[in-house]
């Protein structure tokens, strides 16, 4: 029994479960079976059954989580690739990112406050629209619960990917640029991969939305929470 609590075994298990979850999604074609969600669920059940504490998992876990920060830096490459697109439409892109970012933080915080959520939960919800790597950093920075943010961010992405385009056409938002940017801004990587299926141009705009919202949210989340009295 000691072996299954070892670092190497738990790292290997995390790889295998994630790989298996990816295959499961490809095989079934059900996008709600997102590999991250499925892996988290499987691993939690595994730890509960075997009686391995989270503390024991957190050491091998932190070796994997460590790569989040360099992965954010790596987003600098797609951002560089999209710089020309951004320059061409500097004003519309900047204004809509600013509006989307502020509305995203303010609305989720106000509703959660109004419905009586605790301070920790409200902080964890604030960066819910941006990609997980960035959202976790922001939540940790501001004193929320990073793992709660991680799960919510995945759920937000799935929600956006499944109903996002319907919501946009309901709002008469029809241009590919606007649709792509909105999907990336609201539903980060998962929304981006959804519109990438429509065309790569959509995907490129969504990437712009996802990165710029990440940057803006990391700058604005702290001050906005302060203004809203969280």
């Amino acid at each position: 029994m000691q072996f299954i609590g070892s670092d190497i075994f738990l790292v290997a298990l995390t790889f295998i479960v994630y790989y298996g979850a990816g295959r499961l999604r490809d095989f079934t074609g059900i996008s709600a079976l997102h590999p991250v969600l499925v892996s988290v669920a499987v691993l939690i059940v595994f730890l509960e059954i075997t009686g391995i504490s989270y503390e024991q998992y957190s050491r091998p876990g932190s070796m994997i989580e460590f790569w989040l920060k360099p992965a954010i830096v790596a987003l600098g490459l797609p951002l560089y690739t999209q710089l020309r697109t951004i320059r061409k439409q500097l004003v519309p892109i900047f204004m809509c990112e600013l509006a989307g970012c502020v509305v995203g933080i303010v609305s989720v915080v106000l509703i959660a406050q109004w419905m009586g959520a605790s301070r920790e939960v409200i902080i964890s919800l604030a960066p819910k629209s941006v990609t997980n790597a960035i959202a976790i950093e922001i939540t940790g920075h501001l004193g929320g619960i990073p793992s709660l943010t991680a799960s919510i961010v995945v759920l937000v992405g799935l929600l956006g990917a499944v109903v996002g385009l319907k919501v946009l056409s309901f709002g008469n938002i029809s241009s590919p640029v606007a649709q792509g940017i909105s999907m990336g801004t609201a539903a980060h990587v998962i929304g981006t991969s959804r519109v990438n299926q429509l065309s790569e141009r959509y995907g490129a705009y969504a990437t712009v939305g996802l990165i710029l919202n990440g940057v803006l949210t990391s700058v604005l989340a702290g001050p906005l929470l302060e203004i809203l009295g969280v």
Binding site: P70, V73, S107
Partner: protein, 115 residues
Amino acid sequence: MVKQCSVIFGCLAVGEFIVWLTGISIPGSILGMLLLTALLEKKVIKVEDVGPMCRFLVSNMGFFFVPPGVALMLYFDIIADSWLAITVATVVSTALVLLVTGRVHQYFRHAVHRK
């Protein structure tokens, strides 16, 4: 591989250093990302110098946040307490972000065109 990691971790280290130095509330990784973009744009670094590693990291991002997701098991009681608030706030806010971002983009796009 080593060169690519030097660039990426170098940018990250500079980002973290700036945060440490100034105490600003932006994650060091974001500053590292902007620095990498700037270095690519100024041709200090070529795309080939970081390309494969960047693509590897970006396309496997999902894997890296499995462990923080697992930590959720520590907070089941908090979620049980406020799942309704979390759900309503998240769903409404996501719809608003989609609509506002799209409408504002179209508005300014047309405004620029009319000029």
